[in-house]
Subunit: 369 residues, 2 copies
């Protein structure tokens, strides 16, 4: 569609050069450990295909996704990459994993048994990862399952275990004692299983120090500019800019209200701008009467509730030449990053990214060869 | 993909027969007024193509979307339908509206002027809607703009105005005086403009009585089963079922925690089920430690935070034969509709629907041929 930018309500710009720079920063910080990339949920909402292609070009070889469907999409893009499925070996999809070279993260004894069957059927020891739960109680082998494997290592025969891994629960908080406790539990479990490379750190874990790096780290959020350690400066480059188009300007008088439920009543005359972004685009309803847009470095607050397709900003304090229909307001931009928007919405940047809507006109910077 | 259901983490079933039944219920309730359908935001997250085709087959002729891009997608599906663009006449897309027979909802004098130019260029009085703001302060002609048009009706020359419309702010609350106040402002404005058919009611407005029906109503939410009047029984058929797959069962002991931030600590041994749905699928983080799943009619509460790709339910009280890996938990289902899920998340059903993720395996019932 040649005129797609004109047909959309907002422009979402995704800077792949920044993603690449973030990957290199993490890779350099890891030293000898390999730097993978976690691209689940459509690469954190930013588009699996352009992000995966750019990171592969940058030298990334190992990719993690959550689901088998995502892994098959990624395989079509990157025929040579190592592709891992965090949610494990999906029931009924075992032959697809084998046929497409997908590496399941084996989370239960049942998954291990089913992968042994798949390996036997394929006539080869196919690669997989062994996930040990050290505190998430979500996915991974429980202590009694580690016991069972330690007592009966033949349970792994016929499988090529390329990594043992675990997942951190509190790594974004440097001082949380759970970090070291999980690491000790991980080491204790590994010592009882056949020797193997190890993977432990997510994005925040990379910043906790080399004892968390092991052989392979699995960053996701930091690649996309999110702050890896709470309460510390953010070393990552910003990846996302979201510019919503002004549809209409409106002067309101004292006593008037705006939006559904008439939740905001004006104490004095104000100038409002209605912008073509709403919760149908992932601009959460929690931002009603709380969120911020920016025109240059001037903050323009959200007034009233968020509608499905619209949000209204109070632009009284912005220069008139920049508040005209067709001009844009930064919803995410230089003065207001994804983490800041998330804080206003009462959530985390991860949820803001994965909620980014499908109606935005997407522009990728740095996609070219 | 033949095995797509096995590759996905959850099954989203969308009952088009229920959508059709809801449209007929609203149509019958409207009597002589026409019943349109609002299909913005990908038909409230349920899929523009299957929903539009089914409603057209049912006899619906008029469709409203928010953006020009959505209207062009709809035009490709329904060559004969009347298609209205609520967000108005997008800058730079005027010729596309004319070429594809899209009807802009004209919200400002500037949009009216630009549509006159487009009509002149096309050599025809092309249809459009005139939107009068009666209290949303969001989109639509302000009182001074209605004055200007009333004093200078030539401003509409060359345009075929098929409806004047307005949008209700508080219609879900029957007793809210804003409803009648908006209706009076609408009538007052209409009386000053050239005679024309009128459109006023959204889904909840249809249930406020015939004086709100005018000539064309624009339901969206009620088509998809959402409750149209707060505090009253819901007459709409349920459209959505969402079944998340159990990946893993885990027994936890007293004192153990679950999930990111270790926010939930168990006071006694419990059985947990990890399900392949997360905020990356639109299952909001606000549901952490608050949401519910259902196994049959047994409620199983969310424990811990929602992860991007996973949620953990406490299934201790459910029968063992239904809590095995590969079985499903109802996230939306007979005992727990979209409105109930929204209430737990602290939002409205509209936001739950439009956030429904792209990783679900979608099954359409009643799609016909």
């Amino acid at each position: 569609m040649p005129n797609a930018a004109a047909h959309a309500g907002a422009i979402l710009t995704i800077d792949l050069d920044a993603v690449a720079a973030n990957w290199r920063l993490l890779r350099d910080r890891l030293g000898r450990a390999e730097c993978a990339a976690v691209l689940k949920a459509d690469a954190y909402g930013l588009g699996l295909a352009p992000v995966a292609r750019r990171l592969a070009r940058e030298g990334c070889r190992s990719f993690f996704v959550a689901q088998a469907g995502e892994a098959l999409s990624l395989r079509a893009l990157l025929p040579e990459a190592d592709i891992y499925v965090l949610n494990g070996l999906a029931h009924g999809a075992e032959a697809d994993y084998a046929a497409h070279g997908l590496r399941p993260v084996l989370n239960t004894l049942d998954e291990i048994a089913r992968w042994r069957v798949a390996c036997r059927a394929a006539g080869a020891a196919l690669p997989a990862v062994l996930n040990i739960d050290t505190g998430m109680a979500r996915l991974g082998l429980a202590p009694d399952e580690v016991d069972a494997l330690a007592n009966e290592p033949a349970g792994l025969e016929g499988i090529r275990v390329v990594y043992t891994m675990s997942h951190m629960a509190c790594a974004y908080a440097r001082a949380n004692p759970m970090n070291e406790s999980q690491r000790r539990l991980f080491d204790a479990a590994r010592s009882r299983l056949p020797p193997c490379s190890a993977s432990f750190a997510n994005s925040p874990g990379i910043f906790l120090g080399p004892e968390y790096h092991y052989d392979l780290a699995r960053p996701g959020a930091a690649l996309f500019g999110l702050q890896p350690q709470s309460g510390e400066p953010n070393p990552m480059a910003q990846v996302v800019r979201l510019q919503g188009k002004i549809l209409q300007l409106r002067r309101v008088d004292r006593g008037m209200t705006v939006g559904y439920g008439a939740t905001h009543r004006f104490a004095e005359p104000r100038l409002l701008a209605t912008v073509a972004v709403g919760y149908g685009d992932g601009y959460f309803r929690t931002l009603g009467n709380r969120g911020s847009g920016f025109i240059g470095d001037i903050r323009v607050p959200v007034v009233g509730r968020i509608s499905m397709d619209l949000v209204t900003f109070d632009v009284t304090d912005a220069p008139g030449r920049e508040t005209v229909p067709g001009a844009t307001i930064d919803i995410v931009g230089p003065g207001h990053d994804v983490d800041a928007l998330a804080a206003e919405a009462g959530t985390i940047g991860y949820e803001v990214l994965t909620a980014l809507g499908s109606r935005y006109h997407r522009v990728y910077l740095g996609a070219g060869r």
